[in-house]
């Protein structure tokens, strides 16, 4: 009971934390989805030495632990002369990290589009950019929705690590309230509840896409 009261009284802290989490995740997705698609195009279409270099870079980036990457960005930005709020270091590291994963996801999704689709598109005179825009990407949006949804949930979870570099997101808020009021269960339970809610929203979106997919592909 005491715990619930504490959480309710500190609700502005929680809301601020949740808002930061959401803004980080949405900001990240807004950047990393388009860049990830471009990266996937490079991974698919670029001439060989460049493509292999890119593939190695993406592979390597996916082996970096996110927390360490966040630290490097956090301590690295001032070295470049940029004295920014930790939130920006958080956004940058989250974006770089998520882009590498999305590039790989989109690359696999491009390959999953039936080759005869693309061949027919070529036969009908569609240009490369038209083929991506009208044939490949629309299908990828539908068929890769579950995998992308999974990645979004992963990004939400990764965002919590940013508390360690003092970004005031949701887990930071829970930890703060718990440390200041000595009732650990309620604040963390509240945070977990909010993360669960975010997860549900993403999964609902994926289920929606699954319905679209059933309608078009059977």
């Amino acid at each position: 009971m005491n715990g619930l009261l504490v959480v309710w009284e500190s609700r502005d802290v929680f809301l601020w934390g949740a808002a930061n989490t959401l803004s980080l995740v949405l900001g990240c997705l807004l950047l990393s989805i388009p860049i990830g698609i471009l990266g996937a195009v490079v991974l698919t279409e670029a001439p060989d030495p460049l493509r292999r270099l890119f593939a190695e870079a993406v592979d390597l980036l996916r082996c970096v632990p996110f927390l360490l990457l966040a630290y490097v960005v956090y301590y690295g930005l001032p070295e470049l002369g940029l004295r920014l709020d930790p939130w920006w270091a958080g956004l940058m590291s989250l974006t770089v990290y998520t882009t590498a994963y999305l590039a790989e996801i989109f690359r696999a999704a491009f390959r999953a589009v039936a080759p005869d689709n693309i061949e027919a598109a070529h036969a009908f005179g569609l240009s490369r950019s038209l083929i991506y825009r009208r044939i490949i990407l629309p299908q990828v949006a539908i068929t890769a929705a579950p995998v992308i949804g999974n990645q979004v949930i992963t990004t939400i979870r990764d965002s919590a690590l940013l508390m360690i570099i003092t970004v005031q997101e949701l887990t930071f808020a829970a930890n703060f309230v718990s440390a200041n009021h000595f009732t650990p269960f309620a604040p963390f339970a509240a945070a977990v509840g909010l993360y669960l809610l975010m997860s549900f929203v993403v999964e609902a979106g994926v289920r929606r896409m699954e319905r679209v997919r059933k309608g078009r592909y059977g």
């Binding site: 632990p65 360490l68 490097v72 301590y75 070295e79 949930i153 939400i156 979870r157 887990t171 963390f188």
Partner: protein
């Protein structure tokens, strides 16, 4: 970056890897157990476990670590940082790997089970002799992926004071007032470790695929 500093970071890396190794050994079997219980017939258990798994999969790992360290004592389980870290790592990876095991169990060809039953095999024997040998090989890829993810998660345990690679790098940074070099070194070392694991996984996968034909159902 002096050599003693690098040594400190390497020691930290060893601690991180050791934590991860212990958790892997515990969590993969635990994940299998969870999957079997979820597909089992004990009333109430499947639903409970499904809720548990959903919860853990939606929760950020660092939040789980904090939860285990700060909340469990209130329920009577007071843990030192290192055991708490292992508990959190194990629960996290068990939940994720249970999904892999569960999907393998659910999609396992029914006719193979029926054949085993027709030949008089008990369910237990069927699992040990027929099901398990196939599913662990077929799912080696996804399982090793989970292991890789666990390795990447582990640095987060620094938040409850475990002295592993992140703390080591941080301490050196605090001593020298130059935090960037130790973290760069830590990142390089740890990334190299994970990259080696990933390469190794690919080689093993290819070898298994060659020996068992199509290793995927």
């Amino acid at each position: 970056m002096t050599w003693p500093a690098i040594r400190t970071i390497l020691d930290g890396a060893v601690v991180t890897a050791a934590l991860a190794a212990v958790s892997i050994l515990l969590s993969l079997p635990l994940g299998l157990l969870l999957a079997l219980l979820r597909e089992g017939r004990i009333p109430g258990v499947p639903a409970l476990l499904a809720a548990f798994v959903s919860l853990v999969r939606a929760t950020p790992f660092v939040t789980l670590v904090l939860f285990v360290y700060f909340v469990l004592p209130a329920a009577g389980l007071e843990l030192e940082p290192v055991p708490a870290a292992i508990v959190a790592l194990t629960l996290n990876t068990a939940a994720f790997s249970s999904e892999i095991w569960r999907s393998a169990l659910v999609t396992f060809p029914r006719d193979q089970r029926e054949a085993a039953a027709a030949f008089g095999m008990s369910e237990r024997a069927t699992f040990i002799r027929i099901v398990f040998p196939q599913i662990w090989r077929a799912n080696l890829g996804p399982l090793v992926s989970e292991v890789t993810i666990l390795l990447k998660c582990t640095p987060a345990v620094a938040v409850i004071g475990v002295v592993e690679i992140t703390r080591a790098a941080g301490r050196i940074g605090a001593e020298t007032y130059e935090p960037l070099p130790p973290f760069l070194v830590a990142t390089l070392i740890y990334t190299a470790l994970i990259a080696t694991l990933v390469r190794g996984q690919r080689v093993v996968e290819r070898r298994i695929a060659r020996r068992f034909g199509l290793a995927r159902p």
